[in-house]
């Protein structure tokens, strides 16, 4: 767009600036501490304002119709709404404008809830004054608003799903079934995630493997899914609708096209190493298949442990192994959207030295889970690691690394119910076992969970309210010292086995992934959704969605729901093959531009490029976020940020610094 055109356009729309101001009560949310009447009366005194109205709920159909009518009948050309946050409601009112002849970017929203009524809840007078000032700044800015048109971007009908746990599997399956191409990247040799390590799942106690494995098989059989296991995302470039992805396939030294998963190689391999899948409670070989139901059922050589004896190579009947292969492979592809489902890590209980995790009989809940599993290190028998005897007394310590300002201050949500599950399963298998659950609050919030808790009580599990202070080794047993809230006394339990209900934490490398994808994490390291209620799987990078425990602690049902929600969000983005993008990007006014390239060097999003052949500065509108850094820095005002032009911002500053008169 050239300068003369933009001037002309502006003049047209400024011929008769008729501004409508709409003040929302939001029930008592705003009206409770902002005097709406005063704000309305004040707004009427502002120049160019021709209509001022207030409404109990402006975002209701009735409220929106009010605005629509004024535009259609009274010829309002600018709309200023003084209500709540644009983050949630700007899109709603823009649509209202769009349903009339008025350009939807001739709308300005002033947030007098988050900035006035909420923070100054006890100071109505000043909250009202602040609201009036903000309305004034909105009106001044509205005068300078320009009509803008959305841009269309093509969208590829393919998705990258990062993480092959239960959430990523569900997202991938839903999209693949709808006909989209899906690349599923998993860092481990097999998909399945943490759920594959579980024995049974609450609240129905069905076997984890039995409900998970069929889905894993579906994934491997679906022609739309390209499974990239033992792989990690190396680089992401591009933008919504068209991302370019580089994936590093770690070298397995096994030709998976030939490998039939017979496992003979593992049998002959002489190198024993800790088996991560069984929480290091037993050994695997240097060449191994991750677990019995692995998908793909293929062998991998652990390069850090292999002694290169070549026994496996000789044994393999299909000639799949070549231990001289060392280099990682790289695959590249393009996708229209990305779903992140990287799951969680467990809290390291060594950080709570008072619980003496060094002791062999102090274990984590996941270690117990592996023991309970028929395919686990003890074949389903519960044995004290120190002497392989069945414990008589078991103490469960809750909130290890959760609800604790020294480690993680959030609640991990699942630990109450999984400990109840463990206690129940132990009671079913060993009815005489003496079981204590030491808790702060029991949060069995899900559907069917309360009943699940009741059944544990009925089986004789003892629930003790009070945090445990420390665990000490006493002979071949453990003294668990704590407090019983109800008794009001200190208690101790002499236990044979202590199970620590360790917290869920964001994966250690999530920060790197966040940087790679340009999405945010919250202070706990989990990926941040745009809105906790209304946009739970969207991120601040359009086209990238999050699902499952990488967004925050959650149990299987919620992780599945989010996987499906993310698939649905990606699908609705991709289905039309194109999307409209807000035109909030920077625009170069070529005739003013001296090609100093200051803007290019400042742009965080690498959206600005100097085109040497044409001696031109160009903005890639798909990459540009409209942050305005370039515009502020340009020495000759040759680059403008749409919707945040210098004159618009100047008017706002004028209004805010000029007082109420």
């Amino acid at each position: 767009m050239t300068k003369s055109r933009s001037r002309k356009k502006k003049k047209e729309s400024n011929d008769f600036p008729k501004i409508g101001v709409y003040v929302c009560h939001c029930g008592t949310n705003i009206a409770g501490s902002v005097n709406i009447e005063e704000v309305v009366n004040y707004s009427k005194t502002l120049s160019n304002v021709s209509i001022v109205r207030d409404h109990m709920y402006l975002c209701s159909e009735q409220g929106q119709n009010l605005i629509k009518d004024d535009i259609q009948k009274d010829g309002i050309t600018r709309v200023v709404a003084a209500c709540c946050s644009p983050r949630t409601h700007e899109e709603i009112f823009r649509k209202t404008l769009n349903s009339t002849d008025l350009n939807k970017y001739l709308y300005e929203q002033v947030n007098i809830r988050d900035q006035c009524s909420w923070p100054h809840i006890k100071d109505k007078e000043n909250a009202t004054k602040k609201a009036m000032t903000l309305v004034k700044s909105g009106v001044y800015r509205a005068i300078e608003l320009e009509p803008l048109e959305d841009r269309k971007l093509p969208v590829l009908k393919s998705t990258l799903v990062i993480g092959g746990g239960i959430s990523g599997i569900n997202a991938a399956l839903d999209l693949a079934r709808d006909g989209y191409k899906v690349y599923l990247v998993e860092k481990n040799p097999s998909i399945g995630g943490k759920m594959a390590q579980l024995d049974k799942t609450f609240p129905t106690n069905d076997c984890s493997a039995c409900i998970l494995a069929p889905m894993m098989v579906d994934i491997s059989n679906n022609p739309n899914v390209e499974l990239l296991t033992y792989s990690e995302v190396e680089n992401v470039s591009g933008h919504i609708g068209n991302y370019h992805i580089v994936v590093r396939k770690k070298q397995t030294s096994v030709d998976w096209n030939k490998c039939n998963g017979c496992g003979d190689c593992s049998i002959v391999c002489p190198v024993k190493v800790d088996n991560e899948f069984n929480c290091n409670m037993d050994k695997r070989k240097a060449i191994y298949i991750q677990f019995q139901q692995a998908i793909p059922m293929k062998a991998v050589i652990d390069k850090t442990k292999c002694i290169k004896c070549k026994l496996c190579e000789k044994r393999c009947q299909v000639g799949a192994i070549d231990i001289t292969k060392n280099d990682d492979e790289y695959v590249e592809f393009d996708v229209g959207s990305i779903i992140v489902a990287t799951g969680y890590d467990l809290f390291d209980p060594n950080k709570k030295a008072e619980y003496d995790y060094d002791h062999p009989n102090v274990i984590t809940s996941l270690e117990l889970e592996r023991m309970m599993c028929a395919s686990g290190p003890t074949k389903g028998e519960i044995l004290r690691p120190s002497d392989n005897r069945t414990p008589h007394t078991v103490s469960f310590i809750q909130c290890v690394g959760s609800r604790d300002e020294k480690t993680n201050d959030y609640c991990s949500r699942i630990c109450c119910t999984y400990s109840i599950k463990h206690a129940r399963l132990l009671k079913e298998k060993y009815p005489d076992m003496d079981i204590y659950i030491h808790y702060i609050d029991l949060r069995c919030f899900g559907k069917g969970y309360e009943e699940y808790y009741r059944m544990a009580r009925e089986k004789g599990v003892k629930f003790i309210r009070g945090r445990i202070s420390q665990v000490d080794s006493i002979g071949d047993r453990l003294e668990v010292s704590g407090d019983d809230d109800t008794l009001g006394e200190q208690i101790s339990v002499i236990a044979d086995l202590v199970v620590l209900a360790v917290a869920m934490e964001s994966p250690k490398d999530s920060k790197n992934l966040a940087n790679l994808l340009n999405i945010s994490t919250d202070k706990t390291g989990f990926f941040k959704e745009i809105h906790p209620k209304l946009k739970p799987v969207s991120t601040d990078s359009d086209g990238i969605f999050i699902a499952g425990a990488c967004q925050g602690p959650k149990e299987i049902p919620d992780a599945v729901s989010q996987g499906k929600a993310a698939a649905s969000a990606a699908s609705s983005l991709m289905s039309k093959g194109e999307i409209g993008v807000e035109p909030l990007f920077a625009q170069v006014i070529d005739e003013f531009c001296a090609k100093c390239r200051t803007c290019e060097s400042l742009c965080t999003y690498k959206a600005i490029k100097y085109i040497e052949d044409e001696n031109k500065i160009e903005v890639d509108i798909a990459l540009c976020k409209g942050c305005g850094v370039c515009s502020a820095a340009c020495p000759s005002s040759a680059i403008k940020a749409n919707h945040f032009t210098n004159s618009q911002v100047r008017m706002q500053i004028l209004a805010l610094t000029g007082g109420l008169k």
Binding site: R403, I440, R467, I468, S469, D483
Partner: protein
């Protein structure tokens, strides 16, 4: 005894905050403090109950009883409290409030008077004899000279503690027993 909880007396909790227990509102009654307390098993000092009583404003149940003076200030509760609510700090605050009401145990009074009159928490004469016996150098700390003790007395005279710890001008130590130090 049934306790009516209506209209919490916020005066107490506000005072606790003012006197050093500023994080008390973080407490969520998990019981970690009571759980590792060395005293709770053998006395009626129940730190978790005390925290809760402060939050509920049940001042007569705390301040009139001796239990807050039974804390050994071992700081285990403060160290392990998952909410950083600072239970030991709350105990210090309650002791300060209690002392202002004139409630203070004899041991505290005795130690304070020792320090005021002798410069040390314990009697000096016995110490000099012991030093002589083991060939320790001549005592030169506060207790060795009236001029040092005078400095300490002038400091205490200028603070609230003179009144709160019931310092007496004519003081005779009860005995050579060490009753408190830290």
């Amino acid at each position: 005894m049934k306790i009516v909880l209506n209209d919490t007396n916020e005066e107490l909790v506000n005072k606790v905050i003012q006197y050093g227990g500023e994080n008390i509102y973080k407490c969520f009654q998990c019981g970690m403090c009571a759980s590792g307390c060395p005293v709770a098993g053998d006395t009626d000092h129940k730190i978790k109950r005390t925290m809760h009583q402060v939050l509920l404003g049940l001042d007569e149940q705390i301040l009139d009883k001796k239990s807050i003076w039974l804390c050994t200030t071992c700081f285990m509760c403060l160290e392990r409290c998952p909410q950083n609510a600072g239970p030991t700090e709350v105990i210090f605050a309650l002791r300060r409030i209690s002392a202002e009401k004139g409630i203070i145990p004899d041991a505290q009074i005795e130690v304070a008077n020792n320090i005021y009159h002798l410069g040390h928490a314990v009697t000096v004469e016995k110490g000099i004899k012991l030093r002589d016996k083991v060939g320790a150098p001549v005592l030169n700390t506060a207790g060795s000279d009236k001029k040092h003790i005078d400095e300490i007395q002038r400091i205490i005279n200028l603070t609230k503690s003179f009144k709160l710890l019931k310092i007496k001008k004519d003081w005779k130590p009860k005995g050579d027993e060490v009753i408190a130090c830290d």
